[in-house]
């Protein structure tokens, strides 16, 4: 166990230190190799860590050996270990896949590109593992700045605009978070999460605390792309390089959600959070609005990447809906979907990436009849789409199942109707693509397109397989999500089903 604790911070440090090295390496293959090695290493450590904390233990690692709250500690339980596993896992699968797409989209200075990628990932992981609220801010900015730089690598000039607008919104969000942290600090003198949780009840009648909670939630909601603060997301996802879109879609918003949950449930405690502000109802309303608006806008899109981006807005709604039920079951559903959605979006964006790479377009009307020419890619897309819709035996089905049962458990049967309606809206936009690709004839003047090489397809199919595997074997995901929910709020909410 001691060795595991010693190893745990290297989930973050490995990519963080590999980043600058990567920036120094010349050529194309060397930086890529280093990036793959670093993410794979982080993935292995994350997996071991999760295995070690599934039983409810908490690993604590004090940097510089200064005991918290004097120093900064990493504090890992099932909740953040699961998120860390998702981040590193998705990156490990995507990186080998992405080399040719990066070659096509980032012809120069790939060392910088991979360095930024590693730093962005390290930032996300740092946010996930840390037990110090100011450290959250620092690593949030690390990942954000790297992300802006990565999005700007997109080939379309609108990528620049998307990056700039994300930079403005993201910085406003981070500053809101900073204001919230300021109040927390002023009221308690501490920045350590555990320490804060102990001290906050003493100042629970302060109005400043209410406002602090509000600012932190709003600041993170921007990063989370919670409706109506989602405006940065569609453009950023649409014009970013393919690897970045797939990676961000699978991880970035999840991390923001995780931090929000950590703060709301662990630092403030649900008893305070949901009494001080009408958080449950506000989140529920926004979640439902996001589910419908996102799904509806996804249906209207002509650009495949954009369609999936809006779908992400809707899917974030599901997760937040789970949270808004304020029960361990609901929280478990949120965590489960957090993980599963990462898998499905990674698979979907990765297959769209192959389409973009091979066919040079991701506009739906350009994809007529392409299924015949790229059967493996489009089949992967269709199968991952099934997971998004929530058809068994996919991971998406398990998500829906758990979310529905959490809603019923909370006595909110009407939510079930809304969940199902939006699932069927997902059916509409996925089916539209599948139909265009498979059932329309390829126009005579359309350029010929070849199926991608196996090493492009392999990782996509690996992700698709993961979607099916986790739809059948839920020990890891459901167990992890339940453990995560209990680690976050088990004590405060009582252990549910």
């Amino acid at each position: 166990m001691t060795r595991l604790v010693e190893l745990m911070p290297f989930i973050v440090l490995l990519p963080l230190l590999a980043g600058p090295v990567c920036a120094l390496l010349p050529g194309r293959r060397l930086p890529w190799l280093l990036a793959v090695a670093a993410t794979a290493g982080a993935f292995i450590i994350a997996a071991t860590t999760l295995a070690g904390v599934m039983d409810g233990t908490t690993l604590r690692y004090a940097f510089g050996n200064w005991p918290p709250p004097i120093g900064i500690e990493y504090r890992v339980d099932a909740a953040n270990a699961l998120v860390a596993l998702l981040i590193t896992g998705v990156a490990t699968i995507l990186l080998p896949w992405a080399a040719p797409t990066v070659d096509a989209e980032v012809p120069e200075r790939q060392g910088v590109f991979y360095a930024l990628f590693l730093i962005a990932m390290a930032g996300l992981l740092g946010i996930t593992l840390t037990g110090d609220v100011f450290n959250v801010f620092v690593f949030l900015e690390i990942s954000s700045l790297a992300t802006y730089g990565l999005i700007a690598h997109g080939r379309d000039r609108r990528a620049l605009l998307a990056a700039f607008r994300y930079l403005i919104m993201g910085t406003v969000g981070a500053t809101f978070l900073l204001i919230g942290i300021a109040f927390l600090y002023i009221l308690t003198g501490s920045l350590n999460m555990v320490d804060l949780a102990e001290r906050l009840p003493g100042v629970s009648d302060s109005r400043a605390l209410q406002v602090a909670l509000g600012f932190i939630v709003v600041g993170l909601a921007i990063k989370l792309a919670l409706f109506p603060l989602h405006h940065w997301l569609p453009n950023a996802y649409t014009y970013a390089p393919t690897l970045i879109t797939a990676f961000l879609a699978a991880t970035a918003t999840k991390v923001a959600l995780y931090v929000m949950l950590r703060v709301v449930f662990d630092v403030f405690g649900p008893a305070y959070s949901f009494a001080a502000l009408p958080l449950a109802s506000a989140l529920m309303v926004l979640a439902i609005a996001g589910m419908f608006a996102g799904s509806w806008l996804a249906i209207l899109q002509e650009n495949l990447k954009r369609m999936l981006a809006y779908s992400s807005v809707a899917q974030v709604g599901y997760m937040v809906l789970g949270v808004s039920l304020v029960s361990v079951a609901g929280l478990g559903a949120a965590f489960l979907h957090l993980f599963n959605h990462g898998l499905m979006k990674a698979a979907l964006f990765a297959s769209v990436g192959i389409v973009a790479y091979q066919a040079g377009s991701v506009r739906i009307q350009d994809l007529q009849g392409i299924g015949r020419q790229m059967p493996w890619t489009l089949t992967a897309f269709a199968l991952a789409g099934l997971s998004l819709i929530g058809v068994p035996p996919t991971a998406g089905f398990i998500s829906k199942w758990v979310l529905i049962s959490a809603a019923l458990d909370a006595g909110q049967a009407w939510l079930v109707v809304l969940i199902l309606i939006t699932s069927l809206m997902a059916l509409v936009y996925i089916a539209r693509v599948v139909e265009t690709a498979w059932l329309r004839p390829r126009p005579a003047d359309a350029p010929a397109v070849n199926e991608a090489a196996w090493w492009l397809l392999g990782p996509v199919w690996l992700l698709v397989a993961a979607n099916f595997y986790f739809g059948l074997d839920t020990r890891l995901t459901l167990g992890g999500a339940t453990a995560a929910a209990e680690a976050l709020a088990g004590g405060a909410l009582g252990v549910g089903r």
């Binding site: 068994p392 019923l408 079930v416 069927l424 459901l478």
Partner: protein, 482 residues
């Protein structure tokens, strides 16, 4: 050997067929080869069950506590599996013959999806619990979607869209939440001979769940969610024949029977407030669909509405909630399967041989295609429920079930519907045999190719054989009920 084998064989076959897409001979060989081991497997499972009562239960994995993917042999499922596996053997040559003769493309995709659909049907038949059944139910919906849309014309696509939308809206929108609710209330979804809801679920809630589930099983085509079935007729006829006369729709009514028997339990079901309501909706569907069928000139559309009506027979049998009526429902599943596939085979054979697809165009056709029309006649007898066809027995038990349950109105409806059956199924026969052919018919029309003709003769013969051999099926099914 476990039921998993039966599920796996067509799935493996599908993969093999898909991989052999560019080698036509190998592909055809694989298509022919797939049904045989499947049939053998089902027969072995049957004999193991009949001889030793061995259910060969196998739990594949546990998703959550009380939620398992598990398979087991049970008599009702065996009946369905036997029906599907037997007809698959004859349907495969028919499908290949039809598709090649009709000049359709993408045979590998077609046959692979066809095989997946069969595998899904096996999964439904051998499901040990509602979740497993739901899993394969959805696989069946999705795997048949490319089949319905196969030609890729605007009409096919819009038909397929209606098809998939209705099936998924009902299953995801209604069946899934009902299932989650039952699981939360009872902690299980396993099929139990006495049902799982009695004593655990408040009858008021149970009444609601009955309505939700009856419509949630959209494949049973209860009005007003029956539109998908006529929409599916845009598919090539082999699809209509095996899938929309047998595998898919029978999966629907099989699910209905299973849910009524093993989830609700007949006693509990009888006590629900909405049971009469749903019963009369089924009866209404039965009559109304027959009336619509009467007005369809398109042969396949007429057969489709006939199917809607016949499915309602079986649903009625389930909802009457007596053992006799459930038995009748189970038998009708079998008998109607043979009868309807014969009719569809004939319709397809007529279409590819002569290009005729309307009832009014069939005048004098028997002179050119005597064997086909004879088979059509036999199939019609079976669907109507007249001896010497197997359909007679199932109707008999359905009617006596209704009678013994005291639902005289339902008895009346059965009789009325039978008369309507005669009214819409016999005219094609009489026109073909008795009316003179129109002058402008091309002289080259002859019987369909052997690959199409032989299967339809076989199934026609099967309906007659079942009249004599109804006893084993009867014994098998009574085992399910006692």
């Amino acid at each position: 050997m476990t039921p998993l084998t039966a599920v796996a064989i067509p799935m493996i076959g599908a993969v093999a067929i898909a991989l052999a897409a560019h080698r036509p001979r190998l592909r055809d060989g694989l298509c022919f080869a797939t049904p045989l081991p499947l049939f053998a497997a089902v027969v072995m499972l049957t004999s193991a069950y009949v001889v030793a009562g061995d259910t060969r239960a196998v739990t594949l994995l546990e998703i959550m506590p009380g939620l398992e993917i598990a398979l087991a042999v049970q008599p009702l499922g065996l009946t369905f599996a036997l029906l599907a596996a037997t007809l698959y053997i004859v349907a495969t040559p028919y499908a290949l013959g039809y598709m090649k003769h009709g000049g359709y493309g993408n045979l590998a995709r077609f046959m692979a999806c066809y095989a997946i659909a069969l595998g899904a049907a096996m999964g439904i038949a051998f499901a040990e619990n509602l979740l497993t059944l739901y899993l394969f139910y959805e696989i069946l919906s999705i795997s048949t979607y490319p089949l319905v849309a196969h030609t890729g014309t605007d009409k096919a696509r819009s038909g397929a869209r209606t098809y998939l939308a209705l099936l998924l809206v009902t299953s995801v929108g209604l069946m899934l939440p009902a299932m989650v609710a039952i699981w939360m209330l009872t902690g299980t979804l396993a099929f139990r001979p006495e049902g799982i809801m009695a004593g655990r679920v408040d009858p008021a809630l149970g009444a609601l769940l009955l309505v939700v589930l009856a419509y949630g099983i959209g494949k049973a085509a209860l009005m007003p969610f029956h539109r998908w079935l006529p929409a599916a007729m845009v598919a090539p006829t082999p699809v209509s024949a095996l899938l929309h006369a047998v595998a898919v729709v029978k999966a629907g009514v099989f699910s209905m029977l299973t849910v009524a028997l093993f989830i609700f339990g007949l006693d509990y079901l009888r006590g629900l407030a909405t049971q009469p309501l749903m019963l009369y909706i089924a009866v209404f569907t039965m009559i109304a669909a027959s009336l619509v069928a009467l007005h369809q000139d398109n042969l396949k559309a007429r057969l489709a509405y006939s199917t809607v009506s016949q499915l309602a027979y079986i649903v009625t049998g389930a909802l009457l909630a007596t053992e006799l009526s459930a038995l009748g429902g189970g038998l009708h599943m079998l008998m109607h399967g043979f009868g309807k596939i014969t009719l569809f085979f004939c319709a397809g054979a007529i279409y590819i041989a002569s290009g005729i697809n309307t009832v009014s165009g069939m005048d004098g056709l028997a002179r050119r295609m005597p064997l086909t029309m004879l088979a059509f006649f036999v199939g019609a007898l079976c669907v109507i429920g007249l001896p010497p066809s197997g359909g007679f027995w199932s109707k008999w038990y359905l009617v006596s079930g209704a009678y013994s349950a005291g639902h005289y109105l339902v008895v009346g409806a059965f009789v009325l519907s039978t008369l309507l059956n005669i009214a819409y199924l016999l005219p094609p026969v009489t026109r073909a045999f008795l009316k003179p052919p129109p002058d402008d018919r091309a002289s080259g029309v002859n019987e369909a190719p052997a690959l199409c003709l032989i299967p339809l003769l076989l199934t026609a013969a099967g309906t007659l054989v079942l009249f004599v051999l109804a006893d084993p099926a009867y014994h098998l099914l009574t085992g399910a009920l006692s």
